[in-house]
C-alpha cells in the first residue's frame, strides 16, 4: 500500500486537532479556584452508637493539627467536570498516534483493565497470608515462567516498579555477585547512545560510569569497548536493538569481551518489543535483563506511570534476587523469604501487581505466536514509515533495515531555519503526538520515531503525509513553524521561565482588602497569584 495524499494537509484519521472554539480550548481553572466554602463531594458513614473521641482530649497538644487543611471545596459535579475538562486537554493513545521513540506507545487492550479491577486482584491486601492469595501467586509464577522463556534466562523478580528501578536492582545484584567472589569492581561501561537512566542507575548502585563511543554505523565500537574493559569492570549495559533502532549484530562478540574480563552483561529491555519471540537476550550472552511491561506488554503508561520493570537473571545470579520470591509448594505457591544471599527489598511490597495482571492478560491474549507477530509488525511498521520519510529527512545513521524504531535528523530543516522542536510542534497542529526529540544525544536534531505494531497503514500514511508537509513548509517558510502549535489548548510554553522562577504549587490569593463576593464565583484571576 502506498500513502494517500490528503486535501488541505490535515490528516483525515487518527488526528485530533483541538478545534478552535471547542470547550477544551478554554483554559480550565485550578480545582482550588473552583473552590467555594461549604461545598463538598464527600460523604461519611453514620458512626451509629460509636463512642465519640474528641481529638482535644485524646491527642496531646504537640501532635494536634493547629490550622485548617486547605483542600478545595467542590461538589462532585464540579469535581467531575473539572477533571473531565482536564482530560480533554490531554493527548493519549486512545485518541491517536503517539510515535514517541523508545517509549513503545502501543494500544492498550481494555480487557486488561477490566481484569486488573476485579476485586480478587484490586482488593487484595499485600500482607494477606499466601493461602488466601493463591490466584495472585499463580499469576506471578506463570508470568515469571513466560518472561524466562522469552528472555532465555532463569528467574525473575517483580518488585521493580519501572525500568530504571529494574536497572538499579540488576546493578545491585551484579555488585553482590562480584563481592561474593571477593572481586569487588568499580566501573560500569555504557555506550554513548544509552538511555539517561543507565548512567544514573550506575551511580546509585555505587559504580563509576565509563562511556564508549558508537562506531560510524551506529553500533558499539568493539575496539573502543575493548579499550574500556578491564578487571575493574563490573558490567556492560546495553539496549539491543540500541537506541538508534539498530540491532547490535556483534553482540555475541561483545558478550565474549565482557565475560572475558569477568564482567556481567546487562540488557536494558526498553526495546524488547523489536525481538519479542524472535531472539532472546539470554542466547546472546546477557546475564541480567529488565523488561518494561508498560512498553512491551501494552500496559498503559498513565501519563508517566505506573509501569513495571521486572528483572530476569541467569542461573548464577538467582540467589541475589530481592526476597521474597514466589515458589511452588505442593499443589500451590508460597513466598520464599529464606534467601540469605538476596540483595533485599527494592519495593515495600510486591511491585506494581496491578500492572502485572494487565501484562499477564496481554500474554494470554497474544500467546507465543502472537508475541512473535507483535515484533514482526512493529519492525515492518517502522521500516515502512522510514521508507515514506527518508526522502525528506536524513537518517541519523544510514544503516538499514532498522528494527522497531528509527532516528531521523532534522539537520537539513535546521539549515532552512526549522529545528527538530519546530517539526515536533508542527505535528501537534496536525493532530499527532511528536516523536521523541533530541535523543539519542549522538544524533544532531534527533527525531526518534517508534510507530509500534498496533498502528494501521492508514495511520502511518497520514503521519507520513504530515511529516512531509512540515518538511515542505520548512523549505518554503520555516518561520511559520516557529509559531506552532496554534491549535493546541495552549501555545508554545516558556520552559525557561518555569525553571527560572519556580512556581511548583498554587497559593491562595491574598485576602481582599474590602469585603467582596465569593472569589470562586468570579472566575479565574487574570494572573497567577503565587
Amino acid at each position: 500500500m502506498t500513502g494517500t495524499a490528503t486535501e488541505g494537509g490535515r490528516a483525515p484519521i487518527e488526528a485530533v486537532p483541538w478545534a478552535a472554539g471547542s470547550p477544551t480550548a478554554e483554559p480550565e481553572r485550578l480545582v482550588f479556584e473552583r473552590s467555594s466554602p461549604g461545598r463538598r463531594a464527600s460523604t461519611m458513614p453514620d458512626p451509629g452508637e460509636l463512642p465519640d473521641a474528641v481529638p482535644e482530649r485524646v491527642l496531646p497538644a504537640w501532635a494536634r493539627r493547629t490550622a485548617p487543611v486547605r483542600l478545595p471545596e467542590v461538589s462532585e459535579r464540579d469535581l467531575v467536570r473539572h477533571y473531565t475538562r482536564l482530560a480533554h486537554r490531554n493527548y493519549a493513545v486512545d485518541l491517536g498516534f503517539y510515535p514517541l521513540g523508545s517509549c513503545t506507545m502501543k494500544y492498550n487492550p481494555k480487557v486488561a483493565e477490566v481484569a486488573a479491577a476485579l476485586p480478587g486482584f484490586a482488593r487484595l491486601h499485600p500482607a494477606q497470608p499466601a493461602e488466601q492469595v493463591q490466584g495472585a501467586l499463580e499469576l506471578l509464577a506463570r508470568l515469571e515462567h513466560a518472561l524466562c522463556e522469552l528472555t532465555g534466562l532463569a528467574a525473575a523478580t517483580f518488585q521493580p516498579a519501572a525500568g530504571a528501578h529494574g536497572e538499579l536492582t540488576g546493578l545491585l545484584i551484579i555488585r553482590a555477585h562480584h563481592e561474593a567472589r571477593n572481586d569487588p569492581r568499580r566501573r560500569v561501561v555504557i555506550p554513548d547512545a544509552a538511555h539517561g537512566t543507565n548512567p544514573a542507575s550506575v551511580r546509585l548502585a555505587g559504580f563509576e560510569v565509563t562511556t564508549v563511543a558508537s562506531n560510524p554505523e551506529g553500533l558499539v565500537d568493539l575496539d573502543a569497548l575493548q579499550a574500556a574493559l578491564g578487571d575493574d569492570v563490573a558490567a556492560f549495559m546495553i539496549t539491543n536493538p540500541n537506541t538508534l533502532g539498530l540491532f547490535e549484530r556483534n553482540i555475541a562478540r561483545v558478550a565474549e569481551l565482557v565475560h572475558g574480563v569477568g564482567g556481567q552483561l546487562y540488557y536494558d529491555g526498553a526495546n524488547f518489543n523489536a525481538i519479542l519471540g524472535k531472539a532472546r537476550p539470554g542466547d546472546m550472552g546477557f546475564d541480567v535483563v529488565h523488561l518494561n511491561l508498560h512498553k512491551t506488554f501494552a500496559t498503559p503508561h498513565g501519563g508517566g506511570g505506573p509501569g513495571a520493570g521486572p528483572l530476569v537473571v541467569a542461573e548464577h545470579l538467582v540467589d541475589y534476587l530481592p526476597a521474597p520470591v514466589v515458589v511452588r509448594d505442593g499443589d500451590g505457591y508460597r513466598w520464599d523469604h529464606d534467601r540469605p544471599r538476596s540483595i533485599g527489598r527494592v519495593h515495600g511490597w510486591n511491585g506494581n501487581f496491578g500492572i502485572l495482571v494487565r501484562a499477564f492478560a496481554y500474554l494470554l491474549a497474544n500467546g507465543g505466536d502472537g508475541l512473535r507477530s507483535v515484533a514482526e509488525r512493529a519492525v515492518l511498521n517502522a521500516n515502512y514509515l522510514l521508507h515514506r520519510l527518508e526522502a525528506a529527512y536524513q537518517l541519523g545513521y544510514p544503516a538499514k533495515p532498522v528494527m522497531h524504531e528509527f532516528v531521523l535528523s532534522a539537520r537539513r530543516q535546521k539549515g532552512q531555519g526549522a529545528r527538530a522542536l519546530d517539526v515536533a510542534k508542527g505535528l501537534i497542529d496536525r493532530g499527532f503526538h511528536p516523536p521523541t526529540v533530541y535523543f539519542p544525544l549522538i544524533v544532531e536534531e534527533a527525531l526518534m520515531v517508534e510507530p509500534t505494531e498496533t498502528e494501521s497503514v492508514e495511520t502511518l500514511d497520514a503521519f507520513a503525509d504530515a511529516m512531509l508537509e512540515i518538511a515542505a513548509q520548512a523549505e518554503a517558510d520555516a518561520h511559520a513553524l516557529h509559531q506552532a502549535p496554534v491549535t493546541a489548548p495552549v501555545g508554545r510554553l516558556d520552559e525557561a521561565r518555569a525553571a527560572r522562577t519556580l512556581v511548583a504549587r498554587w497559593h491562595p490569593p491574598p485576602e481582599p482588602d474590602q469585603a467582596g463576593s465569593d472569589p470562586a464565583d468570579e472566575g479565574p484571576p487574570d494572573k497567577p497569584t503565587s
Partner: protein, 454 residues
Amino acid sequence: MLASLGLDDVDELFRPIPAELRAPAGLDLPRPHAEQEVATELARLAGRNRHLDELTCFLGAGVYDHYVPAAVWYLAGRGEFATSYTPYQPEMSQGVLQALFEYQTLISELTGLEVSNASLYDGASAVAEAATMAVTATRRSELLVSGAVAPRVRELLDTYSQGLDIKLLEVGALDGHTDLEEARGKAGDQTAGLLLAQPNFLGVVEDVGAAARVAHDVGAKLLVSFDPLSAGLLEPPGRLGADIVVGEGQALGNHPNFGGPAFGFLACGSQDVRRLPGRLVGETVDSAGRRGYVLTLQAREQHIRREKATSNICTNQTLNAIAAAVYLSWLGPSGLEELGRLCLRLARYAAERLAAVPGVSLAFPGQPFVKELVVRLPADPAEVCRRLVGHGLLGGLPLAGLAPGLADGLLVAVTERRTKADVDRLAEAMATVLAELGAEAAGRGGRGGEGVAR
C-alpha cells in the same frame, strides 16, 4: 507494505540478527486466547483469592482499606490520562500537567512543606530518595533510623545503602515510640538525618517537634514518613520542623492492589528543591501569555544530567498521583477531618473492646494513636489470625519477627470502612478463638500432666 519495501517476507527485516541468535522454536508459551477466554481465565485466578469484600479487614501496616469513591477511578481511569505518556510535549499534555500541579499543591498542604515532586514508586522507595537528599544536602553519611519505622522500609533502605555512601544506625523504640534520648546520644557531626514515621509502624503518634530539635541541634535533617490521611488530626510534620516528608500514598484513593500500584510522595522546603528526585511540574505562560504547566528543573533529572542526576527515576506513578488529587478534592477539608475523627473513634473503641477480651492487653497504654494499635495476645497471634479467617475476619498483622519484644503482638488497623459492629465482631471472635486455643492448650497440658503422673 512489504511490497513497497521490495520484500516478500517480513523475516527479511530481521536479517541483522545473526541466525545463531534467533530464538529456538517451541518456547513454552501460552497459545493465543480470545478476549473472552482471557477474561474467563483472569476471573478464575481472581476467584482463587480471598479479597477484602469477603474478609473484614483489620490489616494495615502501610496499606489500608480506605473507601475509594466512585468518582476517583471514573476520572483517573479515563483514557486521556491512562494512555498518555510522561508530558514531554506540554502543549498537548496540559491535562496531566495541571492535575499534577494540583497534586503537588495538595501534598504540600498535607505535609506542610513548600515543594512536592510528581510522585515516586512507593512509600518505601521514597524514604530511600529522602535519605539520598539528606546525605547530599549535609555532605554527611550517617542516617539515624528509628526502630519504629516499618521493617519493610528499613529493609529497602538497607538494600539501597549497598550502593550509596550511607551508614544506617538504628535508634530503638521505647514504649512504642522512638527513643529520642538514644537518638540524641547517637547524633553527631556525621549525622545526615534522623528518620521516623508518623504515626509509626506500631501506630503510635511520635513527637515530631522534639525529634526535629534532636536532628537540628547537630545540623542534620529530620525525615518523616507520614500517613497522609492522618493530616485531618495531626499537625503536618513540615510545620513541626521536618525537612523532608515522604510517605505511602495508597490511602489516597488507591485500591490496595496487593501492594501496588499506589505511589510514594516526597515534599521538601524550597532550599532543597534542586536536590529533589523525579518529575516536578511548574507553572509558566505560553506565547500568548496564557497560564500553562510544564515539567521543570529537568537539569536535576537523568535524561539531562545522566550520572550526575539527583535520582535515576524516570517512569513514576503519575496516574496514582492523579487519583490522589481527585480523591483529596472529593474529600475536602471537612471530609479529611471527619474521616480522621471517625478512624480515631473506631480505633479507640477497638482498643477498649479488645483490651476487655480476657488475656488481651494494649501494648502501649497511654500512648496516643489515631487508626492503628498493637495488642498483646495470650496465644500465638499468627494462629489467632488463621482462626479469625474462619469468622470472616483479617485480624491484623502478627508482629513476631517484625518488632523486638512483641512476639505476642498483633497490629490492628481500622479505617472508615469498619463499623462499630465490625469491631464488636472482632472482639467477640477474638474471645471465642482465644477460649478455643486456651481449652486446647489446657487439654494438651492436662493429658500431658496425667502422663507424667502415671
